[in-house]
Structures are given as C-alpha cells and as structure tokens.
Symmetry: C2
Subunit: 197 residues, 2 copies
C-alpha cells in the first residue's frame, strides 16, 4: 500500500529553514551546509536515511522549496537541483499561479499544482504508481499536511544546534497533532526520529 | 567529578510548560498529566530515566517551577510537592526577592537565591558534596543555563503531541548553542534524547 511520508531536517529548536531565503542563501539565515552536513559530510553514517528520501515514487514540495522567486513565476528557474535533479520521478510543486510542467533530464518532471494540498497529493499518489509519496518540504508545507492528518510517517533529522529564528516545523497551525513514536537513532552529528500517524 | 545536568519533558514543538500557569493548572494551557504520562502511567518503561532525575545531590529550579505565586512571596506556599518532597536534598530556587530557607520532611530544604544563576549553581555544587547538580526547570531557567554554557548534559523526554503555545525550551535566547548528541531511546509514549556540551 502506498504511503505518504514526510521528511525534514530541523535544528534543536525545530527550524527547517531560516528567514530571508534567497538565490544566494536557499535556507536564509540558517547555513544550509551546516543544516545538511549529516547528509553530505557524513553520508556513510546515514546511508539508510538518505536512501529512504531517494526511494519515493513521487514528491510534493512547496513553492518556496522549489525556488527563491515569489509572485509571478521566473520561468527560467528550474529548481535548485540542476538539469538532472535527484528525484527521477514526477515532482508536484504547490503554488497559486498556473505554470506548464517542466521536464528535466533523468526522469524528473516538475508539475505545478494550484488547487491545494489534497489535489497535489492525489496527483502524486497516481503518479507514484503504488510507490510511496514523499512530502519533501519546506516546513510550512509539511505543517499543512500534518494539520490535515495526511502524513502516515514523519522522519526527522534533528541537527544539534539552535538556530534562534526561521520557519518552524510544528508551528501553531499544527496544535493538537499527536503522533506515535516509532524509532530513534543517534549519530555524532544528527538524531533520526521516526513517527507515525 | 560532579556534573551539571538538566532535564525537561517537552512537546513535539518544544514546549515545557503552557501559558497561564496557576495553582489549579501548574502547567497552564498544557495538560500536566498528559505531558508527564510517561513518568506516571508508564513508569515501568522509563525506570532508568526517572531514576536519573531522582539521583542528583542538589537541585536548581526557577521560581515559576516552585510555585504559582508571582511578585511578593506567598510564605504559606512550600512548593508543589507536599510536606515530603521527592528531592531529599537541598533545592535552590531562583528569584528576585529574599526569603528564609524552608526545611521540609525527608531531607529537602528550599533555599532562595537572589544573586543569579551562577551563584545558585555554585551553592548547589557545594551542597551536592560531589554528586551531580540537576537544573530541574522550567524552560526559561534551563535556557539561561544553556545560553551560559553551564550544562554538561541535557536530557530531554519528548512527548509526541503538539501544544501550539507555551514556554519553549531552546527559545531565541539560546541561539547558537551547539550540543553533541549522545543517545536516544524510543518508547511508545516518549522519546528520550541525551545531549552533552
């Protein structure tokens, strides 16, 4: 049975992105390299968790995760991930403005969905063809899916520093959400927590 | 060597207490029984973590953890824990107004410290006689000790619901704090995380 997964790297104080995101600073006031050092500098320690992110049959992400442009689309912007993105599947980008789908090398196609999180999830489920759908971020997007009770499994990578400000997972819009703790694993650089609905 | 430990139960969104704390609702808008169900309803699953809280040679706590009164002391108030508190050691209560020490049954003595967190810690260390000192809470007090770099080991019990508001551990006053992940353990009702300085 296809499941809805969500995955996010957060700081000790629960931030998944900083303030003031821009083309130069994709995570704004939070140093992206420091936030994701567990994936890039310590890949061997975290093989299983990284593989789990890569295994989805389709992805959903918020517009602010897709790019730094706001308002009207910058049609020259094709995501942060270069000409051959690591998804190799359909990726559904949430937004308010229509835009034609963009095919990339390696099997990734970006689709732009304007009719809400449930419609995006439905399209992603269909595109995943029985495989899991991953809600990839950012925090505001995962919060919406959590608040709607649509996430089967939430995987957190908690990095051990305090950011002090930013965009927070579990913001007040998620008040009342209750999950079941499934597992935890500590490495010297990150703590992996898995929860289920 | 005596160490400085800190311990706190927090929600998924990092709150250790709610808003509007009062004599009737010690944790305010957060249901205290739900927050601490892991200790009281599931004691057998968490014997080691509970024993670690009880093992300190002296305790430090903030005034708001000691009682619901604010401003001038209510001298009839002797803490939340009844005539024979579970500490059985000296307990140093931080505050701004002097008050005479209060001896309780079972070896607990409440001392009221008005000259700051470092002075309280120094007195607690001396009173602990080589045993560890536990910074017991609430969140604002632990945040002060974390920001000052005075906590050797932080033990968190993360309960799996979102409160939405309250008094937050790792609030912005702790921005920049970095810790080393040591261990994690998941039970069906709580996730235990241990960090060291």
């Amino acid at each position: 049975m296809s499941e809805v997964l969500a995955n996010m790297t957060i700081t000790l104080d629960g931030y998944g992105a900083g303030e003031g995101q821009s083309a130069d600073q994709p995570f704004g006031t939070i140093d992206a390299e420091r936030l994701h050092a567990w994936m890039f500098d310590h890949r061997d320690e975290n093989v299983e968790e990284i593989a789990a992110i890569d295994a989805a049959g389709a992805y959903v992400m918020g517009r602010n995760m897709f790019g730094p442009d706001r308002g009207d689309w910058d049609l020259d912007w094709h995501g942060w991930w270069g000409p051959n993105p690591p998804f190799h599947t359909p990726v559904f980008v949430l937004g308010h403005r229509p835009r034609a789908s963009v095919g990339m090398e390696g099997g990734t196609t970006y689709h732009f969905v304007t009719d809400g999180i449930e419609a995006a999830l439905e399209q992603a489920r269909e595109a995943a063809g029985g495989e899991d759908v991953l809600i990839h971020g950012g925090p505001a997007t995962i919060n919406q899916y959590l608040a709607a009770g649509l996430v089967d499994e939430l995987r957190l990578a908690v990095v051990p520093f305090v950011a002090g400000a930013g965009e927070r997972l579990f913001d007040p819009s998620t008040a009342g959400v209750e999950l079941t703790p499934v597992s935890s694993r500590t490495t010297p650089h990150v703590t992996h927590l898995v929860y289920r609905r």
